[in-house]
């Protein structure tokens, strides 16, 4: 068993080409932001009915995945599975990069992105949004310290474990805060549910690990480095468990709503009659995003099926986007029931299902956020010793993989 060696990515045309491609997407997002900032949100698909659209789906996906991506680190240093330590640095870096990407999309979609300083200096502590500003920025600081502790020489294991524990607890708080953005909205039938917080934590476990596996395997393939099939398979099985937990929370979320007469209309909309939202729920979130990945990830021959892991992780990400689209956009599309039992109509779309078709500017901004995440991660791997160079099955500690 050799000692794990971490090396920066070599300056190959592939690495620079990838960074240049990502920079192109970031540039497109920047241009889109300037255009929307100048002309107003009227050029987007968002309206007074669907006030949060595709940018919020991207932003919240990235923010939720950020805390989940940190789990690989936590498993190593908080829960003592040292076999995961060789990939812990990438986990921490990716967590920070995902949060940066998500936050960038969120703040650049503000009606007044130029007033970011107001959001940083004026706090209404009754708002979970205000708490999230602190939780998000604090996450970057806490994980930054954790990453430093992981990379610096001579850091005592107790200090590393402490930093890891703080980061782990912080990420739980962060995702609770993100889920509560919706959980604490009493007005709309699709929200107003305490289960949002734990469900978002489960979602973060799945989305974050899926994103991690994609980045890890992709980078190793591009740079011809080894990614221990044993470790990869373990992580893939864990992803299967996380997906199952998300499905469990999703079932409870909908069953609870169906039980309450005032929410059955909303459930009928999402589960049966919602058109796109119903297709996204059953087809993308449950079918392609949950059941198919579980079949792949629990396949008995998974250790030899590299493609299964990648395909499953990609499908989990797809399902995650679909789930957030249904929650965020579907939750607004269904009309608020101000007058139960009465049919309502107005010039302001009361009582009707609202339509939403995202514009190219929203797509550009959202994809730009993903590109920023990958760009920051790539840059980090290029200039820091993040990625192990000899992560073979022989060089990981198999005794800590069990359990």
């Amino acid at each position: 068993m050799e000692r794990i060696v971490y090396r920066e990515l070599k300056s190959t045309p592939q690495v620079w080409g990838m960074l240049a491609l990502l920079a192109g997407f970031i540039g497109a997002a920047a241009a889109s932001v300037l255009y929307v900032e100048h002309h107003g949100h009227i050029v987007t698909g968002m309206t007074n009915q669907i006030v949060w659209g595709l940018p919020h789906v991207f932003a919240i996906f990235l923010i939720v995945a950020a805390s989940g991506a940190l789990n690989v680190s936590s498993i190593g240093s908080v829960f003592g599975k040292t076999a995961y330590k060789p990939v812990a640095r990438l986990s921490s870096l990716l967590a920070m990069a995902l949060l940066m990407g998500g936050l960038a999309v969120l703040v650049l979609d503000l009606g007044r992105p130029d007033r970011l300083i107001v959001a940083m200096t004026k706090y209404n502590f009754r708002s979970i949004f205000a708490w999230n500003v602190l939780l998000y920025t604090g996450f970057l600081a806490v994980v930054g310290v954790y990453l430093y502790a992981q990379m610096a020489r001579g850091v005592h294991s107790f200090a590393l474990r402490t930093a890891g524990t703080v980061a782990f607890l912080w990420r739980l708080a962060l995702t609770t805060g993100t889920g509560s953005i919706f959980g604490w909205l009493v007005a709309r039938p699709g929200y107003d549910a305490a289960i949002m917080a734990p469900m978002f934590i489960a979602m973060s476990f799945a989305f974050g690990l899926a994103f991690f596996l994609i980045v890890m395997t992709w980078t190793c393939r591009m740079t011809t480095r080894v990614f221990s099939p044993e470790l990869r398979t373990r992580q893939a099985r864990l992803l299967g468990v996380f997906v199952a937990v998300v499905v469990y929370f999703t079932i409870i979320q909908h069953l609870s709503n169906i039980y309450v007469a005032e929410h059955t209309g909303y459930e009928r909309f999402i589960l049966l009659e919602g058109g796109l939202y119903t297709w996204l729920f059953w087809g993308a979130q449950i079918g392609l995003g949950s059941i198919v990945p579980m079949i792949l990830l629990f396949h008995p021959k998974l250790d030899t099926k590299f493609g299964y892991v990648i395909l499953a992780a990609l499908l989990v990400v797809l399902g995650g986007f679909a789930q957030l689209y249904v929650i965020i956009v579907g939750g607004q599309a269904y009309p608020m029931d101000m007058f139960p039992g009465l049919e309502v109509s107005s010039s302001f779309y009361d009582g009707v299902v609202s339509q939403y078709s995202p514009s190219i500017y929203e797509w550009a901004l959202g994809i730009g956020g993903v590109a920023l995440t990958l760009f920051v991660t790539g840059l980090g791997m290029k200039f820091l010793r993040i990625l192990p160079d000899n992560l073979t099955d022989e060089n990981i500690d198999p005794s800590t993989l069990a359990g």
């Binding site: 900032e37 002309h39 107003g40 949100h41 009227i42 968002m46 309206t47 007074n48 009915q49 006030v51 949060w52 503000l110 009606g111 007044r112 992105p113 007033r115 970011l116 107001v118 959001a119 004026k122 706090y123 209404n124 009754r126 708002s127 979970i128 949004f129 205000a130 999230n132 500003v133 953005i181 604490w184 909205l185 009493v186 007005a187 709309r188 607004q332 608020m336 101000m338 007058f339 039992g341 009465l342 049919e343 309502v344 109509s345 107005s346 010039s347 302001f348 779309y349 009361d350």
Partner: protein
């Protein structure tokens, strides 16, 4: 269903902080919204004088409100400078008419819906910067200088009473400042109220409409609105949320 008390006044630390803020000279801040147009912000000197013993409110008699009458909406639009630009999905509507049909009984009704000026407004709770705020006299407003345009308040409002300004603005009224990229809603014509007047919608409903709207101080037992509320049954929309709105409806 038991309606929450109209005149319960909780003074929480947020309100105390606001009052101190409003009393301070900083409240009388002016801002340039557009080149050459400098206006006094909401929460300026007039708001500093908002009387915490007062709770402004509206009482709407739904039986008098006709489906084909839009006088309140037109008056609000003219008074505050928001208008139909032909983009119904993104145009702001500070007040709108809602037609109701009871499929069980066949009864048709119509009513105006606007910011309900809740005692416990969800929009104020969720606003990250405190731009959504409630004056001591119960009027809920948006501070256009600190609104960052996150739209969380629109998500939180159970009455769909708020609009986001999607496009550049022209022809603003000096007494009703607006801003592209910020959120806005009914101000209960605070500029009129602070000068002893009544909201434009109420005035128009009385002159060209059907006299369905009544404005007054809910906390003054001698006021006509308080006396009518004490005499006739009234209801709050979404009373289940216990937000204690300042806008009440009779015959709904």
């Amino acid at each position: 269903m038991k309606l929450p008390m109209l005149n319960t006044k909780k003074v929480d630390p947020v309100d105390i902080g606001r009052r101190q803020f409003l009393r301070s000279g900083a409240a009388a801040v002016t801002v340039t919204l557009a080149p050459g147009v400098t206006i006094m912000a909401y929460g300026g000197a007039a708001a500093a004088g908002a009387n915490p013993a007062t709770r402004w409110g509206l009482l709407i008699d739904v039986n008098k409100c006709a489906s084909d009458c839009n006088a309140c909406v037109t008056a609000c639009s003219t008074e505050n400078g928001w208008e139909d630009t032909g983009n119904p999905e993104t145009d702001p509507q500070w007040i709108r008419k809602i037609d109701l049909h009871n499929p069980e009984t066949g009864l048709d009704q119509s009513l105006p819906m606007m910011c309900q000026h809740c005692e416990d407004p969800p929009c104020v709770d969720v606003c990250p910067t405190g731009a959504s705020f409630k004056r001591p006299d119960g009027i809920v407003l948006v501070d256009k200088h600190t609104c960052i345009g996150c739209r969380y308040c629109i998500m939180a409002c159970p009455y769909k009473a708020r609009s986001f300004v999607h496009a550049p603005l022209t022809g603003q009224k000096a007494h009703a400042p607006r801003g592209q990229g910020t959120v806005e809603s009914c101000t209960m014509c605070v500029h009129r109220v602070d000068e002893g007047g009544q909201p434009a919608c109420v005035e128009a409903c009385g002159t060209t409409g059907n006299g369905a709207m009544l404005f007054g101080n809910l906390n003054d037992p001698e006021s006509e609105i308080a006396q009518r509320l004490a005499t006739y049954a009234s209801s709050a929309v979404r009373a289940d949320l216990n937000l204690n709105p300042g806008v009440r409806y009779t015959n709904l």
